[in-house]
Symmetry: C2
Subunit: 562 residues, 2 copies
């Protein structure tokens, strides 16, 4: 059994992960978090919030997953969130075209219909289920589709990402943050991707968790106010120029032009700090810059945090992108609602502009009922559109020409307090399930114990461990169990997750706690009756020391930074 | 403007709630939680977890919202999670039949097709949109529908409740809790209900949040191990006998037989304590027992926690039900997987049973290839199925008769260690959005200030307030602003949410903080430069006192129980 299979088996046995809907045969691409898994996941999320909400002061919002179609037409997902699929002409089973081709050992250089069809034909790939021929490849949208309401219902999708909520609410959030940039809004929740044929368990789920931050910057100023605190953070970077991993400080990466701006560098450093806090091994973490042809056309720069995982290799667990003004511009265009911000001048400026004053009588004669629209268009026309003979306008898609006899144009002076612009977005986007699995993989250790048996220890960082303290009475007699239960109640009241266990030998109980990553175990023994102390055993050093019962809660709270 | 409209306006203005997808015209039944709302909601959820996960020691799990059809066929939702709908023959707009009828002032006594059609015809109700005639009423399922995969895809729904996840995982959870009852599993997440025509804003959403606990009991023992701690908790109960509200302790309610069992009484008390902690007014909270015809046919007893809300009246915010063995039995039947638990005897028992031993040669001659199935059925046959002439069996749906010559039957003695049974479920189910709105409504206070202007204070319990401390420099000079920023950083590091504000008069800043429910405000003034103290002002008493800067973090942590 390889480590990946060992971790998944342990995860199921000890309540971290259960395959969803198992009593009905299960459905690929869905996992349940069990009691230990949900606790570990929440603690990872708590740390993420500590960095982004408490630390950065960003606003957390929560938006529905069910989202009307218009939103994803504007965002580009309806058109572009697709995989190429081929269906068997005989048994109708659908496959991802790229998977079929790659399984034969071929490499795909262009992800388009023509290439896929040609490669499948040339390699004579047949249906793995029934040997049938394949029909032509076609793009299939990966969003789950649904309808809102009945009768005249509304087409909708389950969101493939949480980010759109922050873009749609930009104006409200901008007001909330008193119209000052930069500010950030975050969302932690579920995303959906209706995979054609999900593989790789936790890494590619159909319903998954993500934590996204959208930080809105003035494009003329992508400096981060607290970069000084991060410039000495070291990380392993893989730039798209050398493609070689190199360890350096983010301050250096910025000054050498490897990372494009201070904001990106700041969030790479923050991500590195967050990951170290939750127990990801820095030696198995790197930040890889996207190749130029890998980046979205609108992106200025993009770095993936990748973790090295047993069997799976380097896996993307977070993306940190400078998305330019793409998202807000798209929604502004599609909705017709202003999503710009204001850059205030230090002092009001006087500017000259050419004001156009329509002659309404003449306009009315020429344009009849459209005269009102023409008037409006004339009044807001740009100076450079005014030609020597007149002005060409576009009204409701029609081009019209307004001769210079129909208006007066004159220079006027105006006081201007600032200018409007579309903010740029820096987006650190965290894949929670992948981060969860990385934490498991990097903490998982399997060795032989003194008796030569396989022994599993999950070396979780105490701050994310689902259970902080195991509490054992040496025996269930002479009141040892009662004292242990009292300690349990006391620690729970102090906000410390703990678990009472009185079954089997102390060694067996240690083993159970080590397997779920509990950092400390307490044993109540006969000395406890004499001096009110218990032994506290450390998961990693195996050291034991005696501690007064009343000192337990403060000691653990301090260790946990509570 | 009534209080309901006032709260919603404030909620939007101050970042508690935004109507979803507003730049695209909005969609009824969907709300976004803004930065203040999401924070308040999370803090309510944290308290719920403190009671149920940390306090009760239950296991929190997280399951997908997308769920294959089989699950909801078994649970009864495909058949019964419906509303009666009528569609206009002319404009095709769909309406809930009961809403249309009730809006004319009529009362519906039976929710079935015949009654609805008759009442609509007799009252001559026409389409409110176009005046058209209605077609006949038909039931419409309220689950959002989707498909998993492409090609040969799988029908699926978005879950209408989180509870099914706990039932499907029963066996894994039972093992996780070492096969001891009672134990509980909880889930906090989104539920979906594709309302025909959503009204009442937050109270009836299409995508909503719920927190459910499923606690599995031995039906012969519905005692709660810690009931002694709850028996003196008082609550207002409305029993279905008298239908009169009466305040009493849960201990009394149990001993008088008003509440059916200890487990239910315990969770009513726990709910009352939880609600008081998060700031719901006990004088506007009651527990109403379901009428007999209001309860599900399988339910033993059911109590709704109802909150009194301005304009809306008494609204259900939580249901606490004894659901008997219904859920596990249904899934056991539909999936064919054993979902029973074991009741261990104190000592092993010796029982006599009749063992049937098939004669294989004779069986083979008579049943040919089915002989194996017949053998298996015979060996596990129930004693009472053995007739004087032979045994009637049902194999794969076919009834067959096995004559007594084909087997031997003999009494045998066996040692039995316990017996299997289907656990009963007690389910406290919390509607998070409604609880959120109740907290807002009960905290909202609008009065005139000294200048005679309208003044809003949100008297949130400090433990749920989104911002705990407002920090103001009296002026942005002589370093006052720098000191204020340092205090902000220090409090954030101590885990206390705070907000720096230097704009407008101190009075304006107090007003902004009072409106979002911030319990304390700090002002840094010129005395701070002399003696290192600041004024701390209390939201409710308006008292101000001077506190040393270094004493701030410990003082607030103590007030917040951190």
């Amino acid at each position: 059994m390889d480590k990946y299979a060992e971790i998944l088996a342990m995860a199921k046995r000890r309540g971290f992960l259960y395959p969803s809907f198992e009593i009905y045969g299960g459905v690929a691409g869905f996992y349940d978090y069990g009691p230990m898994g949900a606790a570990l996941k929440r603690k990872i999320e708590d740390q993420w919030r500590k960095f982004y909400v408490l630390g950065e002061g960003f606003g957390e919002i929560m938006c529905p997953a069910v989202t009307p179609e218009e939103v994803f037409i504007a965002s580009g997902h309806v058109k572009e969130f697709t995989d190429f699929v081929v269906e068997c002409k005989k048994c109708q089973t659908a496959f991802r075209a790229d998977h079929l081709i790659e399984e034969t050992g071929l490499k795909i250089h262009q992800h388009n219909k023509e290439t896929m069809d040609k490669m499948i034909a040339e390699a004579k790939i047949k249906c793995p289920q029934c040997g049938g021929e394949f029909a032509e490849a076609h793009p299939v949208n990966l969003m789950f589709n649904t309808k809102i309401g009945v009768g005249k219902n509304k087409n909708a999708y389950l969101r493939p990402e949480t980010a759109q909520g922050m873009f749609l609410n930009f104006s409200s959030l901008y007001r909330h943050f008193r119209e000052r940039l930069p500010f950030g809004a975050v969302q932690l929740g579920r995303g959906y991707r209706n995979e054609i044929s999900p593989r790789q368990g936790l890494i590619r789920q159909r319903e998954f968790w993500m934590a996204e931050a959208e930080i809105f910057f003035d494009p003329e100023n992508k400096k981060h106010p607290r970069f000084a605190q991060m410039k000495d953070v070291k990380a392993t970077l893989v730039p798209n120029t050398t493609r070689e991993p190199v360890e350096m400080t983010l301050g250096d990466a910025l000054s050498k032009g490897i990372v494009k701006n201070e904001a990106l560098a700041y969030y790479i450093a923050l991500t590195s700090k967050l990951f170290t806090t939750i127990g990801i091994d820095p030696a198995r973490l790197r930040f890889r810059q996207h190749e130029h042809d890998e980046m979205a056309h609108y992106a200025n720069d993009c770095w993936d945090a990748e973790a090295f995982l047993d069997k799976l290799g380097w896996v993307e667990i977070t993306g940190i992108a400078d998305r330019s003004a793409y998202d807000l511009s798209s929604h502004m265009k599609a909705s017709g609602v202003d999503l710009s911000a204001m850059r205030k001048y230090d002092a009001p400026r006087t500017v000259e502009r050419i004001a156009v004053k329509p002659k309404m009588k003449e306009l009315g004669q020429k344009f009849k009922k459209d005269a009102g629209d023409v008037k409006k268009a004339l009044e807001s026309v740009d100076a450079c559109a005014i030609g020597p003979e007149g002005i060409e306008l576009e009204i409701n898609g029609n081009k019209i020409f307004v001769e210079k006899e129909l208006y007066e144009a004159a220079k006027v002076q105006e006081t201007v307090y600032g200018e409007r612009f579309i903010p740029h977005v820096i987006e650190p986007s965290y894949g929670i399930d992948r981060i969860f699995y990385t934490v498991m993989d990097h903490a998982f250790s399997r060795t032989k114990n003194e008796e030569g048996e396989e022994y599993t220890t999950l070396r979780l960082a105490p701050v994310v461990a689902p259970i902080k303290v195991g509490i054992f009475p040496l025996m269930c007699k002479d009141g040892l169990d009662k004292i242990a239960e009292e300690i349990e109640a006391k620690l729970r009241t102090a906000g410390i997750e703990c678990q009472y266990d009185d079954s089997g030998s102390i060694g067996r109980r240690y083993a159970r706690m080590d397997e779920i990553g509990t950092p400390w175990c307490i044993t109540v023994d006969f000395d406890t009756l004499k001096d009110n102390t218990v032994t506290v055993r450390d998961r990693d050093t195996k050291e034991q020391k005696r501690v007064k019962i009343e000192a337990l809660a403060p000691m653990f709270r301090e260790k946990l930074g509570l």
